[in-house]
Symmetry: C2
C-alpha cells in the first residue's frame, strides 16, 4: 500500500491526530463507547486527515488548530460512512460488519448524529468558525450530490455535465474541504487556500472516476465491493455515459431498454460492461481521470518543493493508480 509512503513526512503528526481523534469519541454512555471503539478498530486509511496535515504543511506549517481541523473532517467522514451504510443497507465496511448490521439502523443513525454534534462542539469551543463554514458547506454539497444522483438515476437521464456535478458534490467536496481546511489552519493567504482547495477538488473528481472505472474492471476481492454493483443499481457513470453518447442510435435504444428492463441482474451488468468497453467508455474515463490528476498537480506547482508537497503529489497519482 502506497499510503504508508505518502504519510512518511507526517508520521508523528498523524500519531498525535489519532490520539486526539480518539478523545473526541469518548462518552459516558456505554453503548456509545462500545460503538466508538468498534469504529476506531475499523479505522480506514485516514486519507482525509493526511490531506489536512499535508496541506497545512504546504501552506505554512501544522499547528494546534490543524489537529482540530483534521479531527473535524474525520468525524464528519465517519458520520457520513455510518449514515451511508444505513442508506446502502451495506452489511460490510472495510472487511468488518457495518455498524448498522451489528447494531441495527437506529444505533447507526444516532451514532452518526452524535459524532456530528461532537465535531460541532469541538469547533465552537475553539471558535473555529471558519472551519465550521467549510465543513457545513461540504455536508450540504454531499447530501445535494447524493440526492441529485438518486433523482437522475430514477429517470435514467444523465449527461456528462450532470455526472460531474454529482461526483464533485458527493465525493470531491470532502476531499477539497480537507485540503482547504488544512490550508486555512496554517495560512490566512486566500490565494494559498484557494490553490489547495482546487487541488483537493481535482483529486476528488479523479478519485471518483477511478472508483467508477473499478466498478467496471475491478476484482471484487480487491475493492471489497462486487464488480458491477453500480450498474445493478442503475447508476450511470462516466464509462457508460460516454459509450451511450458514441453508440449508434439503434444500439443506444437497445441499451436504454436493457437498463429499464428487469432482466436478470448479473447477466445484465455483464452486457453493460461489454457495451461500455467496446464503445471506448473505459478508455475515455481513464483519460479524463488523468486530466484531473494533471489539474491537481498544476494547482500545486507554485509551492516550493518540500517532503509534504512530494507526498501530496504521490497521493494525487495514487488516486488513479489504485486498483482498490
Amino acid at each position: 500500500m502506497k499510503l504508508d509512503e505518502i504519510s512518511r513526512p507526517i508520521e508523528s503528526e498523524l500519531a498525535r491526530f489519532r490520539e486526539e481523534f480518539k478523545q473526541t469519541m469518548t462518552s459516558e454512555v456505554g453503548l456509545i463507547d462500545k460503538v466508538a471503539g468498534y469504529i476506531l478498530r475499523q479505522k480506514g486509511k485516514q486519507a482525509r486527515p493526511m490531506l489536512v496535515l499535508l496541506s497545512a504543511n504546504i501552506a505554512g506549517g501544522i499547528n494546534d488548530s490543524t489537529y482540530r481541523a483534521a479531527a473535524l473532517v474525520e468525524l464528519l467522514h465517519t458520520a457520513t460512512l455510518i449514515h451511508d451504510d444505513v442508506v446502502d443497507t451495506a452489511d460490510m465496511r472495510r472487511g468488518l460488519p457495518a455498524i448498522n448490521a451489528l447494531w441495527k439502523n437506529k444505533v447507526a443513525v444516532l451514532m452518526g448524529d452524535y459524532l456530528l454534534s461532537r465535531g460541532l462542539l469541538l469547533a465552537l469551543k475553539h471558535k473555529d468558525h471558519r472551519f465550521l463554514e467549510i465543513i457545513s458547506d461540504a455536508v450540504k454539497r454531499m447530501s445535494e450530490g447524493e440526492l441529485l444522483q438518486i433523482e437522475k438515476t430514477r429517470s435514467l437521464d444523465i449527461d456528462e455535465a450532470t455526472y460531474f456535478k454529482i461526483i464533485s458534490d458527493k465525493t470531491a467536496s470532502l476531499i477539497s474541504t480537507s485540503c482547504e481546511i488544512g490550508a486555512v489552519s496554517a495560512s490566512s493567504d486566500s490565494d494559498v487556500q484557494q490553490k489547495l482547495r482546487a487541488c483537493g477538488e481535482a483529486i476528488g473528481i479523479a478519485f471518483q472516476i477511478q472508483d467508477d472505472i473499478l466498478d467496471y474492471l475491478g476484482k471484487s476481492s480487491k475493492t471489497g465491493k462486487p464488480v458491477g454493483g453500480d450498474i445493478k443499481e442503475k447508476k450511470i457513470t462516466l464509462p457508460l455515459i460516454y459509450a451511450l453518447e458514441n453508440a449508434d442510435a439503434q444500439k443506444r435504444k437497445e441499451v436504454i431498454a436493457l437498463l429499464k428492463s428487469d432482466k436478470k441482474r448479473t447477466l445484465f451488468s455483464e452486457e453493460i460492461i461489454l457495451f461500455a468497453t467496446e464503445h471506448g467508455g473505459i478508455e475515455y474515463a481513464e483519460h479524463t481521470a488523468k486530466k484531473f490528476v494533471q489539474k491537481a498537480l498544476d494547482a500545486l506547482s507554485s509551492f516550493p518543493a518540500s517532503p509534504s508537497k512530494a507526498a501530496l503529489e504521490l497521493f494525487i497519482n495514487f488516486a488513479v493508480s489504485r486498483q482498490t
Copy 2:
C-alpha cells in the same frame, strides 16, 4: 386544539417565521424541493418555534435574530423527525406517509443531513455562534439519550434515575433549547436565559411523561400511534418502573420473565398495562408530570405578567392535559 389559543399573542410573528423557514429549505436539486415541499405540507404543530418566540417576548422582545433561532430549532427538529422515522421504520408521520416510506431510507437520511447543513450555514452566516453552541449541545444530548435508552432497553435494567436521564436528554433537551435560544436572542441577562432554559427543561420532562402515560391509556386513533407500542418494544417507562418497584418480589419476577419472553405481543402488552395500572404506576406518573408542570410555572414566576407569559403558562398546562 388549544395550541391556537397559545399562539394568539404571536400570530403575525409565527406567520413571518413560517415564511423564513420555507426559504431555508429551497434547493436547486428538484428532489430536495419536492421532499421539502412535502415536509412543509406535513407541518406539525410548530410547538418549538412557538416556544422560541414566546420566550423571546418574555425575555425582552422578539427581534430579527429570534426568527433565525426559531428556524434553526425547527430545522433540527425536522431533521430529527426524518431520521427518527428511518430509525423507527415508521410508515406514517402526522397522518401522512413518512418520508422514508415514500422515498426510501436513503433519501430520508440524506434529507436530514441536508437540513442540518442548511441550519448550520444560516447560523454561521449571521455569526449566531451562541445559538450553534446551544443547538449542538441539544443534538449531542438527544443522540446520547436515545442511545442510552437502547442500551438500557436491551438489558431491561432501568430505574427512575436512568429514566429521567433518558427523557431529559432525548426529549427535554430540544424543548429546553427552544426556550433558552429564544431568551438568548432577546436578552443577554444570564439569569433570564437560565430561568427560561429551566422552564423548558421541566416542560419537556412533563411532556415526555405524559407521552409515556398515553402509551398506556391513549386511543390509537387520537395519538396516531398504537397503544402499548413502547411496551411491545420493551421500552420501560415511568408507569412500569414504579409498578415494578412497588410489586412484591414474586410478581416482579413474573413480570420481568414476561418482558424477557417472546410471548405473543398484543396479549403481552395488555398484561403489562394491567399490571402497571393495578400497582399505581399510572397514578404515580400523572402525579410526577404535575410536579414538573409546577416546576415550569415556578421558573416563570419572577417575570411580569404579559400576553406571552400567559400563553406560555397555557402551553405548560397543555403538556399534561393533552390526550394526543
